[in-house]
């Protein structure tokens, strides 16, 4: 349990064990010694935050764990969670030159975890005294805001995070697969960021408890890191009622809500083909649900999920049904009894019925809405036709010169490491803005 945030006992996520367990000291040293210390290393280029990977690995090999952690954190303040949640298979480890030699890549993610577990946190980093300390309001307490706020604090500013939930951390706390990062560890990282001098106000929702104008009036600059909105719905008959949940909402319940139980659920369906769908399906299997169907409206090859994740799900007993669409949720009285399926072509339902699948639970992982209203409530901030906030990709600066953004609200939904990069880039731009005397302009 962290010092500041309470997580109740008996949450379902505590039943999972680590998929990639921590390395022992000798395992870490041995693995670190394998690293070739490439020049202009491809792994660095594949990291959205450009962590100097060969250098932090060399420092593990020499027993300089504090220095190793410092190397990681100086590029990415969320080095601890990224070590656990990054899809390293397609990023750093995917580009390791060992692949070309027919050897397994360096276990970069696990080595990074080793450095973060034993080397120390962001308190290791140097702190500057800003000539003109500014006050920055950050909307949302997820990875993008945390990285931005932490960086701003290191640069000598006074960031304040507004989080609508009781717990900060965003998807790291509520949404990451429990076998990668449990909420408890996510909150520990949040605490290390807050300890740099970041204020946190939980239970504060912009638009409900504070208006955009009020936020702009309180602060020199604002960072929008609200992430995405609620899970999208199917809009089919029978959908409303017990037993049908959004996948993101469901994952949050198994991670944070001790009152939630899967009692009586022996078969479940997950609708979707992205990484959230795969996570939910694997978690259902991991929690002992006997039959888990993954219903996808296109073919396996077209799934948005990472291949290594979907392969793992199928190996874990998840049954994939391709080219089907749910046309109706069936109920006996109020109780969920099954879903009716139609065959799909090119992702769209045809008139050909595929059959009825009995189920005790339906999870919808077909995307999340965008928080368009929230974004537009800040004057000058625009969103594109896909609901993403329009901003300069290098700095996150929106149409309002005092408002910056990053993370899922900007990119439509990517990785924690992308959010970390966005947040830190915005922090540097905000620091520049305040130094140039531009706030409240």
């Amino acid at each position: 349990m962290t010092e500041r945030f309470d997580l109740p006992a008996g949450r379902l996520e505590t039943r999972f064990s680590d998929k990639a367990p921590a390395l022992s000291e000798s395992e870490a040293r041995r693995e670190a010694a394998r690293c070739l210390y490439c020049f202009d290393a491809p792994c660095i280029r594949s990291c959205p935050t450009s962590i100097d990977i060969p250098t932090f690995i060399r420092k593990i090999a020499t027993g300089n764990l504090r220095g190793s952690a410092r190397t990681i954190l100086s590029a990415n303040l969320l080095g601890a969670s990224c070590a656990r949640v990054c899809p390293v298979e397609v990023l750093c480890e995917g580009s390791c030159v060992y692949h070309d030699d027919g050897q397994p890549p360096i276990a970069i993610g696990r080595l990074q975890r080793h450095a973060m577990d034993h080397g120390g946190g962001p308190e290791l980093l140097p702190r500057l005294n800003a000539a003109r300390p500014g006050s920055i309001g950050l909307v949302g307490g997820g990875p993008a805001s945390l990285a931005c706020a932490g960086q701003l604090a290191l640069l000598g500013h006074r960031p304040v995070i507004y989080e609508k939930r009781a717990l900060p951390g965003g998807l790291n706390t509520t949404g990451v697969a429990p076998y990668k990062l449990p909420a408890e560890d996510a909150l520990e990282e949040v605490e290390s960021i807050l300890a740099l001098g970041v204020d946190l106000e939980t239970g504060v929702e912009i638009g409900r408890d504070l208006t955009a104008e009020e936020v702009l009036a309180r602060h020199d600059a604002v960072f929008l890191g609200p992430g995405l909105g609620p899970d999208s719905r199917l809009r089919v008959p029978g959908e409303e009622g017990p037993g049908v949940l959004g996948a993101v909402e469901w994952i949050e319940r198994i991670k944070n809500d001790a009152s939630y139980s899967l009692e009586g659920i022996t078969q479940a369906v997950v609708v979707g083909g992205g990484n959230t769908a795969i996570d939910a399906a694997r978690e259902l299997r991991g929690l002992g649900v006997e039959t888990v169907y993954l219903l996808y409206r296109r073919s396996a090859a077209e799934m948005g999920a990472y291949r290594h994740e979907s392969d793992e799900a199928l190996r874990g007993g998840v049954v994939l049904v391709e080219d089907v669409v749910v046309t109706e949720v069936l109920r006996e009285g109020d109780a969920l009894s099954g879903v009716r399926l139609a065959e799909a072509q090119g992702g769209r339902a045809t008139d050909v019925e595929h059959g009825v699948l009995p189920t005790d639970l339906v999870l919808l992982a077909i995307g999340q809405s965008k928080l368009v209203e929230l974004a537009r409530s800040f004057p000058g901030v625009e969103v594109d036709d896909r609901g993403r906030i329009v901003a300069d990709p290098a700095t996150g600066r929106t149409g309002n010169p005092r408002v910056f953004t990053g993370g899922d609200a900007l990119n439509g939904g990517k990785e924690v490491v992308n959010a970390a990069h966005d947040g830190q880039a915005a922090a540097r731009a905000i620091d520049e803005l305040i130094r140039d005397g531009g706030p409240r302009g």
Partner: protein, 454 residues
């Protein structure tokens, strides 16, 4: 199948692999188990006047993930009574009549030497080795390397021993000298039948940085020790070869120093050793390693068409010359195999920062007029490669390459970088040839700084 049996200065052994005088030869039980495992001989842990030992005694240094690249010790000679050792030596020799049992000795007084030699003869052992090498603990008492470092004393001691026994006598030399040829020739003059080298190198293995005490720690202090293991092999090879090529030398050499496998053994033999002695590798992995040594050496001799170990002894000595006798017209340049290169670019950074700046990254333009056969291809590949899979194979400016080998040494892929022969001229010319011809002036010296000088 090559015949591995050897006759080393009159000591017969089923193969050239002996255990060096050290902890693995501390007792009859150990030596007998070693013989069962396949070792051809053993030099018993040094007998002498009883001593006491300290705790702890060993220190190690690793490299990367490998422990014990080097081992250092501050242990002294045997700490068991002479009566026990002599009884076990006799028993071992009786049980293993065809194996070589050699007894290492270290005493002070002539009468002591004469006494112990008689007792050794009574055990039936095959020979004695005189420990003139131990560089810690015993040398402060005027023995071990204190003798090995004084050729005159060494010669005299050998003479005493030769006069007192009919057993073959091996003088064990210390590497802690300026020139090992001096004690080597002193051993010959004293009448030694053979020498063995090297004993351990004086060393401090490391420092406990928490307590700020050197290692291995004995309470609040340590002492210098004797260093051995794979890390000392190059030092030992050179000393063995130095003696082997010395015209006035001419007695057998038992090679010691970091020998861990058949390949190490073959290298020592090729540079003049008639037998090899092993300690650290056994301390690390046990007696069982000898199996690979026997098999590997036998297969190697077969592959070279050599019928026995003697055929290999000293075979590389004609190629071990002074620098001034090396061919200045021999020249190699690095060639990087594009097909096996994995693009780590470790060769580039090594060459660029620490060698001759001749390995360049793809996309860098070649200097006009230089020979750089892969530069154009690298440039084209770099341009056409997708950003997801950039082309990372470096290229060599052959005009600038001096053929130093560094790139090939740092390359992690076996055989990816080869050093290709590109002679500067067909004929051989050495530095000594130039000196003889008077063509040894190299411009760029002090004289060229002052144009008024003739």
């Amino acid at each position: 199948m090559a015949d591995l049996s050897v006759d080393f200065a009159g000591i017969r052994s089923p193969n050239p692999f002996w255990l060096a005088s050290a902890p693995p030869t501390n007792s009859g039980d150990q030596v007998q188990r070693a013989f069962d495992a396949g070792w051809g001989g053993a030099v018993w842990k040094t007998l002498g006047t009883p001593i006491v030992n300290v705790s702890s005694r060993l220190g190690g240094v690793g490299y990367g993930a490998q422990p014990l690249m080097g081992l250092n010790n501050i242990e002294l000679i045997t700490d068991r009574p002479l009566s026990v050792n002599l009884k076990e030596i006799a028993q071992t020799k009786k049980l293993y009549p065809d194996h070589a049992v050699v007894v290492s000795l270290m005493f002070n007084e002539r009468s002591e030497w004469e006494d112990i030699l008689k007792r050794c003869e009574d055990t039936g052992c095959d020979g004695v080795e005189l420990n003139f090498g131990c560089p810690h603990g015993m040398c402060e008492r005027g023995m071990g390397s204190a003798v090995g470092q004084e050729p005159k004393v060494l010669e005299e001691l050998v003479r005493w021993v030769i006069g007192a026994t009919s057993l073959p006598v091996i003088a064990k030399l210390t590497p802690n000298v300026t020139d090992v040829v001096d004690p080597g020739l002193a051993a010959v003059r004293g009448g030694a039948h053979a020498v063995s080298l090297i004993n351990t190198v004086q060393s401090v293995i490391g420092v406990d940085l928490d307590r700020l005490v050197p290692l291995p720690r004995v309470g609040d202090a340590s002492s210098h020790g004797g260093y051995c293991g794979p890390a000392v092999k190059p030092i030992a090879l050179r000393m063995v070869a130095q003696l082997a090529r010395e015209r006035e030398f001419g007695i057998p050499i038992s090679g010691i120093g970091g020998i861990s496998d058949w390949r190490d053994a073959a290298e020592f033999i090729a540079l003049g050793a008639g037998t090899v002695q092993v300690c650290t590798a056994v301390m690390h992995h046990g007696f069982r390693i000898v199996d690979d040594m026997i098999e590997g050496l036998s297969d190697y001799l077969d592959s070279k068409g050599m019928g026995c170990v003697d055929d290999l002894v000293g075979a590389a000595i004609p190629g071990f010359r002074e620098w001034g006798d090396l061919d200045l017209n021999y020249h190699v340049v690095a060639e990087i195999d594009e097909a096996t290169c994995i693009g780590c670019q470790v060769c580039h950074v090594a060459c660029h920062d620490a060698a001759h700046q001749c390995i360049h990254l793809p996309g860098v333009a070649a200097i006009p007029g230089h020979t750089a056969p892969m530069a154009a291809r690298a440039a084209a590949q770099a341009t056409s490669a997708s950003p997801d899979a950039p082309y990372r194979v470096p290229w060599v400016d052959e005009t600038e390459c001096v053929g130093c080998n560094l790139c090939a040494l740092v390359c992690p892929v076996e055989g990816c970088i080869s050093m290709v022969e590109k002679r500067r001229a067909p004929e051989t010319e050495t530095w000594n040839d130039r000196v003889a011809k008077g063509t040894d002036h190299v411009p760029g010296g002090l004289a060229d700084l002052d144009p008024r000088r003739p």
